[in-house]
């Protein structure tokens, strides 16, 4: 097996990795914001439910959640089929990451001084306008660093998908190992490193873009 073939096959696996990464981000970011609002709700029962949910998701391994989403429904209810593997992984990832993101959002939102929304209120802005025009950008600026941490973790967590045989890059490399080829496994590190490098540059850029003002 020559270098080029391995490179291309790993690349194919890495495309799956990227799909999982991208789609998870796409859905977990808005869901995380909704969960954050739930956790800050003044309606106590909702707050309790949301907080319990976040506790369960953050308190159990992501690998277990992937397995639960994939096998759970069929085990619990007769006659229910299994979700396609990729979808099952994605559902577990979206829920898991939404919960982690929600805590970052909540921290960011609660750190904005109350005077900001009060100033919006006395100027006749409604709640939605206060959030979108005053609070949101300040929150984003505050959470870029913790978010970049979490998002970089997500890149590497995608490797958990192989537990239900989704062929992301590490699964491809593992299959090579089974055929007696060890080095592709270590070669995968290059893919991760390059991608995380790109993300790091991107977050640096965002941080710089938002440095036009100080609080």
């Amino acid at each position: 097996m020559d270098f080029l073939t391995v490179t291309l096959q790993l690349l194919e696996g890495f495309v799956t990795t990227l799909e999982l990464f991208g789609l998870t981000l796409l859905f977990s970011l808005p869901l995380g914001l909704i969960i954050a609002f739930g956790a800050m709700s003044k309606f106590k029962p909702l707050k309790a439910v949301v907080k319990t949910f976040v506790w369960i998701i953050r308190g159990t391994p992501l690998m277990l959640q992937v397995i639960a989403v994939y096998y759970g429904p069929a085990l619990l209810f007769e006659g229910i089929g299994m979700l396609p593997r990729f979808i099952a992984v994605m559902v577990a990832f979206v829920i898991n990451y939404a919960c982690y993101f929600s805590e970052i959002f909540r921290g960011g939102i609660e750190a904005i001084p109350k005077g900001q929304s009060e100033a919006g209120r006395v100027l006749g802005l409604n709640k939605f306008q206060i959030f979108s025009k005053i609070i949101l950008l300040q929150v984003i600026k505050r959470i870029v660093a913790p978010m970049s941490n979490e998002i970089i973790t997500l890149v590497k967590d995608t490797s958990l998908a192989r537990v239900i045989v989704v062929t992301e890059i590490l699964k491809v490399a593992q299959d090579f190992t089974a055929k007696g080829l060890i080095w592709p496994l270590f070669y995968t590190a290059i893919y991760y490193l390059i991608f995380v490098g790109v993300l790091t540059i991107l977050f640096g850029f965002i941080e710089k873009k938002l440095s036009f003002y100080k609080e």
Partner: protein, 266 residues
């Protein structure tokens, strides 16, 4: 009927009673100073008038119309509307850090205009088109207010690039943007270095006009004496004494008022 009529305002937080029945009138063009030691309800009263707190009991009427009654429930939308008529300048400025001085002033103008267009059920694209011109007008208007507070050369500065006194002047311009009928100041110079209070007080003094009524919570007695038509001395959640500036500062016989003012005597 007076321009602003505040009647029987009570406010409590849980078991803590902060306001125990506040009544006063204010006419258009008048300046009212509220003085008294900290923790006696001055700021809470101002926040009730601005609906940042909802009074537990009482009514407020403005320009012959009841705008608030503690017996009624108000939706967010209704409160938003009343808030246009009453401005507030905060002790800690509360400027929006991500907006320039100019943008801080135009924000509320743009939002208000857009809300009005929405209410007229004007479609999204039509609205965006109309907003273009409105925004241009708003910028011109905002510039004129910033000029009034002496900051025309700082319109593109962010709050972090301005001194405390300049920030507070931007905040005053922002509060003026919606042409409020009542403008309130909550200890506008308390967060400022002493050498910066002068410029802010000067601006407030210049705002005095027949068009607007002002309510100022302040610890600057000399300023209160100069600028006010009426003075309220508050103690323990009540108006201990109310009168013209002369009555309070020169002729008061009330022992509490005298004791309080005595603290400021040089």
């Amino acid at each position: 009927m007076a321009f602003l009529e505040v009647r029987n305002i009570h406010k409590q937080f849980g078991d803590l009673v902060v306001l125990k029945g506040i009544d006063f009138d204010l006419e258009r063009g008048e300046v009212l100073s509220i003085i008294g030691s900290s923790g006696n309800g001055k700021t809470t009263l101002l926040r009730c008038i601005n609906f940042l707190e909802i009074a537990s009991v009482g009514t407020i009427a403005l320009d012959g119309e009841e705008i608030f009654s503690a017996d009624k429930k108000y939706t967010d939308k209704e409160l938003t509307k009343i808030q246009h008529d009453i401005g507030l300048v905060f002790q800690s400025f509360n400027l929006f850090p991500q907006y320039t001085a100019l943008q801080n002033v135009t924000l509320a103008l743009d939002v208000k205009a857009e809300n009005e267009l929405k209410e007229q059920k004007i479609g999204y694209f039509q609205r965006k088109k109309l907003m273009k011109d409105i925004k241009k007008e708003n910028i011109e208007y905002a510039k004129s207010i910033l000029d009034k507070v002496g900051l025309i050369d700082k319109i593109d500065y962010y709050p972090c690039q301005l001194s405390g006194g300049q920030q507070q002047r931007v905040a005053i311009a922002r509060a003026l943007s919606l042409k409020p009928k009542i403008l309130c100041f909550d200890e506008p110079t308390s967060a400022l270095d002493p050498e910066l209070t002068g410029e802010v007080l000067r601006v407030i003094k210049e705002l005095k006009s027949p068009e607007i009524a002002m309510i100022i919570v302040t610890h600057e007695m000399k300023f209160a004496k100069e600028v006010s038509d009426k003075v309220i001395f508050m103690a323990d959640g009540l108006i201990e004494e109310m009168g013209t500036t002369e009555q309070i500062f020169e002729k008061s016989q009330n022992p509490k008022t005298l004791a309080f003012l005595g603290n400021f005597a040089e």
